[in-house]
């Protein structure tokens, strides 16, 4: 267990604001982020939430990945995706929001470190 602890938040600063905004200039891609901003999901499960073809969804995922908004992790044959809020920093600095996001990070960290035995609660 505990795959990649230590090291803390990795890559920062490379995503440029234009690329981020362009990646977000699509409602489907924003929906993808909403879907995973609090959790980590395989591509297949992301696709299930949309009426798009799996291929279209994977294209959206690619755009988000290139903008640095998604992180990809392999687990066996699956690829799991999660949101990289660091990529929003250039934009976020502009908008300056902090605590609500920090608390969401806290939630993710605690619940990842201490998964519930029974069904995990969401929200």
């Amino acid at each position: 267990m505990s795959g990649s602890a230590g090291g803390g938040p990795g890559t920062t600063g490379t995503a440029d604001t234009d690329a981020v905004l362009r990646a977000l200039a699509d409602p489907h891609r924003r929906d993808i982020i909403r879907l995973i901003h609090d959790t980590e999901l395989p591509a297949g499960q992301i696709a299930q939430h949309f009426t798009l073809t799996q291929q279209a969804v994977s294209q959206h995922i690619t755009v988000l990945k290139k903008a640095g908004l998604l992180g990809e992790r392999r687990e066996g044959t699956r690829r799991l995706y999660r949101f990289h809020s660091d990529a929003l920093m250039p934009v976020r600095d502009l908008l300056e929001e902090f605590w609500p996001d920090a608390l969401q990070r806290l939630k993710r960290a605690v619940e990842r470190d201490h998964p519930k035995k029974k069904g995990a609660t969401r929200q």
């Binding site: 905004l21 600095d93 902090f98 996001d101």
Partner: protein, 137 residues
Amino acid sequence: MSEPVIATVRIAAPPDVVFPYFTDPALAVKWIADAALLDARPGGTFSLDVRGNPARGEYVEVDRPHRVVFTWGIEGRGDFPPGSSTVEVVLQPDGDETVVTLTHRNLPTEEHRRSHRQGWGEFLGILGEVASATPRA
């Protein structure tokens, strides 16, 4: 004086699990800081590097696992110096979960106050507007 900023989150773990994330440097780097130096007792050092910002202050109250209070400011920022504002974190058990309520008081300016308040949903909403107005490549 400006209104406090209040943010809250529900976490699927009991308070004694959540609390150390506010006091243990090894856990603080998992969610809020790139680097942390924490001495969790009244008067102890509270030092986090948050996205390149040196957040500095000291612990005021440490009542584990219920409540922790620390001061907060940014080193080198004359308008927001270390110790100038206060963050109170209350951990309320609810079944085997915890409701975390964070109250940030005495933020120096209206700008800071607003900046700390915007939630993720609101943020995405704003981005949506900005992005929709951005011509597609």
